[in-house]
Symmetry: C2
Subunit: 194 residues, 2 copies
């Protein structure tokens, strides 16, 4: 087990409906030393891939992406969620459904910050059905830039987002992949990542 899997076992809480609560360290209270270790690990995993920018999505992706960016020595751009389009200037727009909130958001990125020739690493805290990542890959491709890879903290292996992204040929590195959770016993089973 790696450091993130150990932490999920120690502090993650399994809730009804295949929900994993990790808000004590990942998405409400934020353990920045853990994020530092995650950033170091993604930098190791993607060391053979050119990356000149990291793209994430507000809100909880920003924390992880920024600390990872210190290891890649590149800037971060974060896609903004907007119900209405009142942003000035030219933006790339894509749609993202929220699994948790059962809503659809438009996500936007200013055209100034993604360009042809960019090698963009996508980073997010969770991957479930892949809606957020699909929205971000579309935005990168609208910009004529290249998706260098996708770094995810926790992938829900029992949903199909990871499978679909790998089938499309994206290099996806999830630091923990949950195979199954049992709310009655609180047990969490991880997929072997090797």
């Amino acid at each position: 087990m790696n450091f993130l899997e150990k932490r999920i076992l120690a502090d993650g809480i399994v809730k009804e409906g295949n929900v994993l609560k990790v808000d004590s360290f990942l998405n409400h209270q934020l353990d920045v030393e853990l994020f530092n270790e995650m950033g170091r690990e993604w930098a190791r995993l993607f060391k053979d891939v050119p990356v000149n920018k990291i793209l994430t999505i507000e809100a909880s992706g920003i924390a992880i992406a920024c600390i990872a960016a210190l290891h890649f020595k590149v800037p971060v751009v974060f896609a903004k969620k907007a119900k209405t389009l009142n942003i000035d200037g030219d933006v790339f727009v894509s749609e993202v459904e929220s699994f948790t909130h059962k809503t659809t958001n438009k996500v936007i990125v200013s055209k100034k910050y993604l360009n042809p020739g960019d090698n963009v690493l996508l980073i997010d805290d969770f991957l479930a059905n892949g809606s957020a990542m699909n929205g971000l890959t579309k935005i990168v491709e609208m910009a004529g830039a290249k998706v260098a890879g996708i770094g995810i903290a926790i992938e829900k292996g029992y949903q199909n987002g990871g499978k679909l992204l790998r089938e499309k040929g994206y290099r996806l590195e999830s630091l923990a992949i949950i195979e199954a959770m049992d709310v009655a016993t609180g047990t969490i089973t991880f997929r072997d990542r090797n």
Copy 2:
């Protein structure tokens, strides 16, 4: 001039209505090396103050707070904006008006992550009329915790948020304080911070 003031002069854009656009480095595209320098500077400025937690507000505050937290070696908690209260469990709630969007948001923090005895440093990217910071100080005080200080990247000195917070006795360290901006010439004048 310090590193942030220099960067604002180099890359900030003055817009109609006393608006300063810094989205190329501070709140859409994020220069994490600049944030690292900001974190180092706050750690120096607050070195005599006990801090065991950093509190910020989504979305753009998260990036700065997390990188600062690496210098303080403490966790970050971010207050979430919620139009409706559908969060499970007990939360502290406060209200924040957005100067930019002309809306009022409820901001919430889980009661689990702020406790009596905590020494909380508040961090945010902008300070204008102080609405966000007032919301956060109220939440810290509801928790019975102590506001150790307030770290702001860019204070708009021509609005009264900074004045009011200093009058209340909070120790406020803004890395750049804008005295005036002129949209016709694009000039930006900083207040002397010493």
